[in-house]
């Protein structure tokens, strides 16, 4: 089932590689670890990484 969700993330984000990376990172991290209260920090870091990558690509 995990594989199916990953496939769908890739399929749905075909126009936004950075969003795909963000969602895959978060999904895999959540599947393997319980982030507990750390999740806010983790999510924001991933979003910032996304924004950073976008900034470098100059597209949003």
């Amino acid at each position: 089932m995990t594989q199916k969700i990953i496939s769908k993330i890739i399929e749905k984000c075909s126009n936004d590689y950075n969003l795909e990376q963000l969602l895959l990172q978060v999904f895999i991290e959540e599947s393997h670890n319980d982030l507990m209260s750390r999740y806010k920090e983790y999510y924001k870091t991933q979003i910032n990484k996304y924004l950073e990558r976008k900034k470098n690509n100059e597209i949003l």
Binding site: M1, K4, D16, V26, D34, I47, L51
Partner: protein, 665 residues
Amino acid sequence: MKFCRIELKNYRQFRDLKIDLDSPSEYDINIIVASNGLGKTNLLNAISWCIYGKEPSLEEKYDVMHMVNTKILEENGYSGIFEVSVKIKSRKKDENGTEEYFFERIANYRYSGDPSQATLISNDFKITIFKDGYEAKVLETHDDTTLFINRHFPENIKEYIFFDGERLNDYFVKEKGSAIKSAVELVSGISLLNVIIDRFKIIRTEYSRQIAKDHPEIDKIQKEIDKTKFDIQNATNDSNTYKDQIHKAENDIKIIKDRLRGCEGLSEKIDRRDKLEKQRADYRKRLKEANEKLYSFVIEYYPIMKFYPAFQKLNSFIKKQNCDDTQPLITDNLDILYEMINNMKCSLCNNALSADQIKLFEQRILQLKENNKGKSFQLSKLLSRLSYLVEEKIESFENYHDEKEKIFSDIKHYERELNVLENEINDIQRFLLSTSNPENIRRDEQRLAELTEMRDTNLVKKGRNDERINELNKKLNNLQIELNNALYTLNTNKNIEKAIQVTDNAIKVLTEIKEENTAEIREEINKKTNKIFKELLWKKHTFDRVEIDENYKISVYHVSGQLGLGTMGAAETALLALSFMIAMQEVSGFKSAIIMDTPLARVSDKHRKSFAKSLLEVSRKKQILLLLTPSEYSEEMKAVLHDNFNNLYVFYTENEENTLLKRGE
């Protein structure tokens, strides 16, 4: 995942029991045959206790008895610390290698001489995971073990893994649907998607708040959003409470209805009996009074009756005397005249009498004496008195027949009514005696009425509350749109704005995936259940299809198009539960063994052979542990299973407190 070994120590009637379920043959079907009372259901309870820390079938029916083996308690005078343990070794083999899981629950109880007083000192549960023979991980915290258990044996649907044949009717009640849905969501990753979506929403709210700090209009909308969310949460909590209460009430109603099956209307019968008994007491009292009246009547009328001819004769005689004027005059006046002359005053007005008056009285006396010459004054007096008495008695005797008739009629009426009442009371008593423990049943019926009322009240409350939640959600949605518009139109922090846009996109994509997966999984489970059920079912020509709706409510259709779940026999219902379970496991990705306690309790002999064949087929792919009574393991079952089972064990006992195990033949 299959069970390889189960070890029980000091758990109820199992002082020291080890069951090996390994060394599989082609068919991984394992059978334990045990007479009632030897611990089949307690073996299921032990497994449930080990994995979930609960013993459901004991908790529902009774106060939980002491878990520690009675024999060891007796040997130690109910004094000391006693360890109870259940350990289960299981194995999962797939393309990634072999993993072994060792589930271990150990509880310690302290006794201080009093058999009724036990203190639980510790209750520890851990899961040790071995990967390709090496210890890889030990899960000990509650969160870790719960997560692991829910991914392998979801507690919400444990009935489908630890299958109780006595409770078949519980399997397809509509309340079960939501439990199945959440279990499927949990094991298929949908719950994880929900967690991620919720977390993105929280992050988004935080970003919005940051912007709101600099923009009061956004702050206002944000505060309204927070308040609405708070209201939704509260209303959802209320709805969940109502839902739990409804669910609990319906479960209890189901249990009580099962218990009351065949004893319907008992409460009315008891009420009727009580009413009739009151009426009977009333009629008995009236009959007693009528009999007393009869006694008084006899006492009163007996002498009259006896002397009635004499009275009549006497009455005729007196009347004749009067008619013939042979009756002496009443002489009372004469005595008065004498008295007045002697006293020389009037007895009436007390005035003194003159000499003329005295003379007049003396003349009158002489006149009276002349008239009464030759007649008896004494007889005259007696007859005069008797005349009244006799007439009174004769007159009263004329009512004798009427009064007698009335009293006897009353007595007969009361006796007749009493007879009718006695017959009806006896009929009810016979019915009650044939029913075990009528007072308990009556209590059950009263409880049933209370629970039904409670459920209906909660259904109404939940309905109102759900409407409110819908309205609040609409309001929240509008507020979110309003907030988005405000954010995009105002000159806000562009970086945060971009971050909000990212979270929105993430939420949108994940929600789409979640919805698609939810629908696909249900559709796939539906398809597989149909396929497996059709393969296993022997009455293929009567069955058309199974439908599983979005709330996981299962319906079965006959070829005629009619809904058939309620009309299915026990064997078919058990088979449907089994098919659904296998489909659910295959689709959602968790794979566990299935343990079936007395699955054939309600299955007729003629269907056992077919059912056994179906089980055998299932056991090619999935481990099955069957707990059967000797009568369930009938010739029909043996004919199919005897040459194919993996292990056959028999529970036996040398004393009631210790169940032992031997290999069967």
